[in-house]
């Protein structure tokens, strides 16, 4: 069976696992989910009865699970009493903003992180390598939200000049699409910078370590023997081989990235899934909290699936096994 089919199967089974875990966490462990929801919302008797029916609570545990799956497949993530609208609509409004934040920051983090990591690795043993390692270890120990607070203080209060909250200037009227994206771009600078400062360190450390291990391989000596330029040796031969372990390590990074996104969105009131998760905790809005967790987890699974395929494509040694 080709690798892709096998890997898709594992992806589907993990999604089923995450859905079951989610059902367990939100519907079974806390006892009666309706009591949980009702405790923080002003529900009348008939609303509670409607919910009982909707969650299929009268049936057995397994039938509840089936109802839960059926609702999920119909895109029914439950009803939010705080927002008085179906959860799916609320989440739809926020997913785009988080995706925008994560794609920009991940691109910058991966590219800059790997470049610096490879640079440090190629300078192995010299002062610039050890100082980069120290800087990366310090950056990796910074709490993301604190970095956000410091940037809010520097660029919002002390020096000023950069927008520190929201995705665009409230009630702004734009002449054209370009100005709208320019405004969003301005609001994107600080959140991306916050994520970048901490997360670049992860890639610097990983790619540096990977390059050093690669540099001690025999084919690097062959490359040197060929009289190639130092740049070709490091980037032509070293870099591509070093990239593979970085790809596998990025699995860990993806789940950490989601945590970072939540912190950044809370500090900058960036209207994404992270802020929605934070607000749903404050308003004890369990249906929304459940949906946010489920969608984030599935997104991480899909991202890992994509990373594995990319790795599979990049490393010829793996591709051949049929």
């Amino acid at each position: 069976m080709p690798y892709i089919a096998r890997r898709t199967l594992t992806l589907l089974s993990s999604i089923v696992a995450i859905v079951t875990f989610n059902f367990l966490l939100f519907h079974i462990i806390p006892g009666d989910p309706i009591r949980l929801i009702a405790r923080s919302q002003h529900l009348t008797a008939d609303e509670i009865a409607k919910l009982h029916h909707e969650y299929g609570l009268d049936g057995s545990l397994f039938s509840q699970y089936l109802t839960y799956l059926k609702n999920l497949l119909h895109g029914d993530l439950g009803f939010s009493f705080t927002y008085q609208e179906p959860v799916i609509d609320i989440v739809k409004r926020t997913v785009g903003n988080t995706a925008l934040l994560l794609t920009t920051s991940t691109l910058i983090v991966v590219i800059a992180g790997v470049l610096i990591g490879v640079f440090a690795g190629s300078r192995h043993g010299k002062r610039s390598d050890s100082s980069t390692v120290i800087a990366a270890l310090v950056a990796w120990s910074l709490p993301t939200f604190w970095v956000g607070m410091l940037l809010v203080f520097t660029f919002g209060v002390w020096i000023g000049g950069l927008p520190i909250s929201g995705i665009k200037t409230p009630h702004a009227i734009y002449d054209n699409i370009f100005q709208k994206w320019q405004d969003i771009g301005m609001h994107l600078i600080l959140p991306t910078l916050t994520l970048a400062i901490v997360d670049i360190a992860f890639f610097v450390i990983i790619s540096r370590t990977s390059l050093i291990e690669v540099m001690s391989e025999d084919y690097m000596l062959t490359a040197r023997g060929k009289g190639l330029s130092r740049r070709t040796i490091v980037w032509g031969h070293g870099f591509r081989n070093a990239l593979l372990p970085v790809l596998t390590a990025s699995v860990l990074y993806i789940s950490a990235l989601v945590g970072g996104a939540i912190q950044v969105e809370v500090v900058y009131s960036w209207p994404g899934m992270g802020l929605l998760t934070y607000n749903s905790v404050l308003s004890r809005d369990y249906p929304v909290l459940e949906a946010c967790f489920l969608i984030t987890a599935v997104a991480v699974l899909v991202a890992n699936f994509a990373t594995d395929l990319l790795y599979h494509k990049l490393d010829p040694r793996v591709g051949v096994q049929k």
Binding site: E217, G225, V320
Partner: protein, 331 residues
């Protein structure tokens, strides 16, 4: 004028345990088109000697004394940048573990083709590709497999790719570091014939490093035997090993013991005795002959005075107080 002249070369490794003189005053030369073998136990400094020519030494190794002249030009004091034009254009290397010496994520074709255009920009993409295909055919690999990756080849085939790569820029000197150790006997023979034929065909000279004397005896014009960082015997293969290898005329006691370490197909089966003792610790200062405490012919002088290479006739040199040149009675 010989292609390569190494005089009084000293290469030191500084390791946490102190500096080790891996190559301690070696004189070595090679003529154009000559096929020279370099023999000795592992750790005797043969690889360090060979690798110091293109300066492909590990980070903590450095040439402390002596000179290496290539085609008359002094190359031992060149820095990395100045060394580049020589590497692969004039001096190329065939490494031992071929799988690991080839870049796993790059097709063998592009790896072979890579040095061609680096060293000769006048060659365009098509010409380089053609030469790569000729080289593959020359080493017995169908050109259509140029796009395959190293892990798709057997051990022997990979060694052929290494050879093709080494000849990519028609170098003057090829250094083969234990090219066949990892292969089965049959493949070893094929590879050695291939090396010999290519060497003659392209009239290039080759240094073949091996701890396997039988291999050197069959294919090399001349041989040098190294022990603990010094060359103890050098000369024509038949002078050092005897033309049929039957009668041991090697003169240096160490070379004799090495030859005895090999079962001879023509002789009756006899239990092979290894050489007792251990090679000396090169981080300590050496005095006298380094083989002295393992040599059963050792005399007092061996322990105090280091023997110099003396001529035993038509360039057959031996560094031993006890060994006597031919003609003298051989006690």
């Amino acid at each position: 004028m010989s292609l390569l002249e190494i005089s009084n070369l000293r290469v030191a490794y500084d390791s946490p345990a102190g500096t080790v003189m891996a190559v301690d005053g070696v004189d070595f030369s090679i003529e154009p088109g000559e096929f020279v073998g370099l023999a000795g136990e592992s750790g005797c400094g043969k690889t360090t000697l060979a690798m110091s020519i293109p300066q492909l030494l590990p980070r903590m190794a450095r040439i402390t004394e002596g000179s290496i002249r290539f085609d008359g030009q002094l190359i031992s004091d060149l820095n990395e940048e100045q060394m580049k034009p020589f590497r692969w254009k004039d001096i190329s290397v065939i490494f031992q573990g071929a799988l690991n010496a080839l870049n796993p994520v790059q097709s063998i074709g592009s790896q072979i083709q890579e040095p061609i255009r680096v060293h000769d920009s006048s060659v365009n993409e098509v010409q380089a590709h053609e030469r790569m295909c000729d080289l593959l055919e020359a080493v017995g690999i169908p050109a259509k497999r140029a796009l395959d990756y190293p892990h798709q080849f057997s051990g022997g085939m990979r060694q052929r790719v290494m050879i093709a790569m080494a000849l990519a820029c028609q170098p003057k000197l090829v250094i083969a570091d234990e090219p066949i150790t990892a292969l089965d006997v049959m493949t070893q023979a094929q590879i050695m014939d291939l090396l010999r034929s290519l060497c003659d065909k392209f009239d290039l000279s080759m240094i073949l490093i091996s701890h396997d004397l039988s291999v050197l005896a069959q294919t090399c014009d001349r041989v040098a035997v190294m022990y603990a960082g010094k060359i103890v015997e050098t000369g024509r293969a038949e002078d050092v090993f005897g033309n049929d290898g039957a009668k041991s005329r090697a003169d240096h006691p160490y070379t004799q013991r090495l030859l005895k370490a090999y079962p001879n197909i023509n002789h009756e089966r006899v239990f092979i005795d290894g050489i007792p003792g251990m090679p000396p610790d090169l981080s300590q200062p050496q005095h006298g002959c380094r083989f002295a405490d393992r040599c059963d012919l050792a005399i007092a002088r061996c322990a105090s005075e280091e023997p110099r290479l003396s001529n035993f006739g038509n360039n057959h040199q031996v560094a031993c107080h006890v060994a006597t040149p031919p003609g003298a009675n051989y006690s």
